[in-house]
Symmetry: C2
Subunit: 245 residues, 2 copies
């Protein structure tokens, strides 16, 4: 990510890599992160496959071909592992919120960008943990933490909906019910999606955003709207009828 | 329901109620159905509240203030009870499909009618069992039955979507992904809805159908479409821009 060794621009300014204990430490840190990430992913896959209660740390260690103490080097308990799986998935959605904050675009477009990343996160290996972690028997502190993160996401979606209604990019609606409908459809992906399906997570997220965008109604033909005096085709006339209803 | 005793039109044609053993049997049958229904509802509420595995037939009997053998008179096992709760909820959706079959309306309207009843069913006491029964440890035969009923509902929704695309009442879309998005949003109601909330199941279903209908985009103003040469207002101009995108 930020490995200066390979950067010619800084090569002359720093001692050779082998002589730098700081770089070695940095590498060790990175190595640890990569391995910790592998433990969390392996756990997510096992929880998906067998459920949280039916999965042991031994199963996860076996999956990684390491010993249980090795797994314990990265996490303190199975509970913490579930929590980390939840966080890993939800963090992708939080990152999406951060990214769109910088965009100077109508709120509906920013919301769609978040919903796409939300859908991809739920279709990832972390999906099961994201939508089911709260129901497991976790410590009260961990449950509170999970609830708080879910609430943050929910309120982030509602806020973008409200902003969209204000900037005119979203039709006036009940932000809470609309957020529940959108997030519910996306959360449910974890109940049916398997990685071996023909569509990728990104493709599913895109299909869902298309439904959320304009709904089931036939769209008024764009060309038709631009040149309203041209005789409307049958489909377009129907669409206009539907909009007037 | 079909109690002839109270009908003046048939009063003279039949012997007095007390003399009719058939009517007494009919009443007994009805009484049995009412009580069986009460057992299923009580079970649904307990499963909702404590989860399937944490609920015993004793809990359900206690809730009804009867003995466990009384509960066994109506169902043979807790497993069968969960299955009956699932069926009771899903039957409401199946009834909606049967009802709309008779309507000579565009498919989108028929679909909306089904989705409203679907939402109400998931917000009912049977919601938890409807969306979670499949995950419990049920017999293979029962699991197959549940999967088959879910598949029937899913394919019913897809069929109405395809019909809507054909009759022009639904914008061309992927019927499978669209059905998953709609049903997922509705299924998720069981994860958050509690009967003590301010909105009724019917109100939530209506709010969701509104989102599914036309999505997030601002609607082109109907009057604006009817008189396209009038100078568009700011909001309407934005809406047209969005449609043209």
């Amino acid at each position: 990510m930020n490995n200066r060794r390979s950067s010619p621009a800084t090569a002359g300014k720093h001692p050779a890599p082998a002589a730098s204990p700081w770089k070695a430490s940095h590498e060790r840190q990175r190595d640890r992160e990569v391995k910790r990430d592998a433990v969390i992913r392996a756990a997510a896959r096992e929880f998906n496959r067998k459920g949280y209660h039916n999965t042991s740390l031994d199963d996860i260690a076996a999956r990684l071909e390491v010993t249980k103490p090795t797994v314990y080097y990265y996490v303190t308990s199975k509970e913490q592992l579930l929590f980390q799986c939840f966080v890993a998935g939800v963090e992708r959605i939080r990152a999406a919120f951060r990214d769109v904050r910088r965009l100077e675009r109508p709120a509906r477009e920013r919301l769609n960008a978040v919903l796409r990343r939300y859908g991809e996160a739920v279709a990832s290996e972390f999906g099961w943990c994201m939508v089911r972690a709260e129901e497991q028997d976790l410590s009260p502190a961990m449950s509170r933490h999970i609830k708080a993160l879910k609430s943050e996401i929910d309120h982030g979606i509602r806020r973008l909906i409200r902003e969209g209604v204000q900037d005119g990019s979203i039709h006036p609606c009940d932000p809470k019910m609309t957020a529940f409908a959108l997030a519910g459809a996306l959360n449910w992906i974890a109940h049916w999606y398997r990685e071996d399906q023909s569509l990728s997570g990104a493709q599913i997220a895109e299909a869902f955003v298309t439904v959320f965008e304009a709904g089931l109604r036939p769209r008024a033909n764009a060309a038709q709207l631009a040149t309203p005096r041209a005789p409307p085709r049958r489909r377009a006339r129907r669409a206009l009828g539907a909009l007037a209803r």
